[in-house]
């Protein structure tokens, strides 16, 4: 039963409207962007109610430094971080233990252990997303899920996207994109890129096709009709690429690298393999409960998939080179902060990427690719049926 709802608004958006026929505003706290509502009647399980919002965002010198969220010319935006959220925001808390001590604040509870019980049924908090994005007449807007419609009215371009059962995490980008299309079976492949950055497109498309083939053959069907890669401005600093349902954003720095430039790596192959495999590991198909070890089911498995694809493309010797790159990072972090077991690793620690790849390689030597992939396919099937509400097969 729910009688009070706390809504959190991002401080650097201007909230223009926030209302609901089912709620009464009790308190508005601008300093913290908090809106406390009372329900007109108690909400019982399975009652549904509507909340309406309208807000604006404008880059100013004060918030301009938040480059990842910010919309920029030819840029991209994890806009879901700016959408209102409900309830207490754990990520607002001071997480640094020393700082908390200094301020005489109680220590934060430790990250849930891998053995901690999970509520059953677990609330994945997945959403159905229905979004109409518009942008200026010379640009195309990219969002997540399937594009169901697009048209132009009054010198604006409109793009209608839908996605079902996805985590609350979505992004948009807008740019003067050139489009290159291809396909893998009935999956449409679309590359949205800066018209000047065309040199790696055909290689990217081939890498996507190989990744789809490998993941579908070994793990299960790709869950969407479209694979979309969109290049975004290097102004959105701090990441090379990131995967959302059906859409993967790549930083332009990675996108138009000179691959023949002599380092002997194939970054496009690595990126396509890793990021596209996140459609199996860490998005709608397998979304582990955040706790110790959960990063193994996302980053470590994406690293493993990347490694296998690299091996299939370039052979065992080149695979070993990749293993050595990650082994070095793993060893140096071990020297600095000690060994951390993968199964209970902090999911935000790079160990799940570096040590993860090395340990998956060792597992590959021990039992082989076929056995690993059979186990991963079974894991994925179990996860999909649990998310669909079939718990019986998974308990124990």
């Amino acid at each position: 039963m729910i009688s009070e709802i706390l809504i959190n608004s991002a401080l650097d958006v201007s909230m223009l409207t926030l209302n609901s026929n089912d709620l009464i505003l009790k308190n508005k706290d601008e300093k913290f962007g908090q809106y406390l509502f009372k329900t007109k009647k108690e909400i019982m399980p399975n009652d549904s109610l509507e909340i309406n919002f309208e807000f604006e965002y404008q880059i100013t010198p004060i918030n301009g430094h938040q480059s990842f969220n910010a919309i920029v010319d030819n840029g991209s935006l994890r806009i879901s971080n700016y959408f209102p959220s409900i309830g207490y925001q754990l990520d607002h808390e001071i997480s640094d233990e020393i700082e908390r001590k200094k301020r005489a604040m109680a220590a934060l509870p430790a990250l849930d252990s891998v053995h901690a019980p999970i509520e059953n049924p677990y609330n994945y908090q997945f959403i159905n997303l229905n979004v109409l994005v518009s942008t200026s007449a010379d640009q195309s807007a990219i969002c997540v899920g399937e594009l169901t419609d697009h048209y132009s009215i009054n010198h604006r371009n409109y793009f209608h996207y839908r996605a079902e059962n996805i985590p609350f995490r979505f992004a948009v980008s807008s740019a003067k994109y050139a489009i290159q299309k291809s396909n893998y079976g009935d999956v449409s492949i679309e590359i949205f890129h800066d018209p000047k950055h065309h040199q790696n497109i055909s290689h990217l498309i081939k890498s996507i096709q190989k990744t789809l083939a490998y993941c579908e053959n070994n793990f299960g069907k790709y869950p969407y009709q479209t694979v979309r890669f969109a290049e975004i401005s290097s102004f959105t600093r701090g990441f090379a690429a990131t995967a959302y349902p059906a859409t993967i954003y790549i930083n332009e720095k990675q996108f138009h690298l000179n691959l023949t430039g002599g380092e002997g790596q194939d970054v496009i192959n690595e990126l396509a393999g890793h990021e596209l495999s996140h459609q199996w590991w860490g998005n709608a198909l397998l979304k582990p409960v955040y706790r110790q070890g959960s990063g193994v089911l996302t980053e470590t498995l994406a690293q493993y998939t990347q490694l296998m694809l690299y091996k299939n493309e370039y052979g065992e010797a080149k695979m070993l080179e990749m293993v050595e790159v990650y082994r070095e990072m793993y060893e140096s972090s071990k020297a600095f902060s000690g060994e951390e077991a993968l199964y209970s690793a902090d999911p935000d620690n790079a160990n799940v990427i570096n040590k993860g790849l090395v340990k998956m390689y060792e597992l590959y030597l021990l039992i082989g690719e076929a056995k690993i992939n059979a186990a991963l396919r079974a894991l994925l099937e179990a996860s999909v049926s649990v998310e669909a509400g079939d718990y019986a097969g998974f308990v124990g």
Binding site: I2, L11, D12, D29, F32, G33, D47, S48, L49, E50, I51, N52, F53, E54, F55, E56, Y57, I59, I62, F68, N69, A70, I71, V72, G75, L77, R78, I79, N81, F83, P84, I86, G87, Y88, H92, E93, I94, E99, N123, Q125, I127, L129, V131, L132, V133, S134, S136, Q139, A141, R156, V172, S174, G238, F239, A241, T242, N251, K253, L271, D348
Partner: protein
């Protein structure tokens, strides 16, 4: 995701911070004022219906949306 830099990315706070000290004070006060909501049951968003109007030429956007919660 693959990170270029090892830190900084996860700190995607939604609030404006003018200095580190101010930001930490804000966070401490937020926790003090709202921490009791940690244990108060809250509804879950099930559907998001939204229009997002992007204005790249002036680095701005406008959002209208409905949340369906239960």
């Amino acid at each position: 995701m693959i990170l270029l830099a090892s830190t900084g990315f996860y700190l995607s706070e939604n609030y404006t911070k003018n200095s580190n000290e101010e930001e930490l004070n804000w966070a401490q006060n937020y926790e003090a004022n709202y921490g009791h909501f940690k244990t108060i049951s809250q509804p879950t968003i099930t559907d998001v219906e939204t229009t997002i109007d992007l204005y790249p030429e002036r680095n701005a956007y406008h959002v209208k949306e409905v949340y369906f919660v239960e």
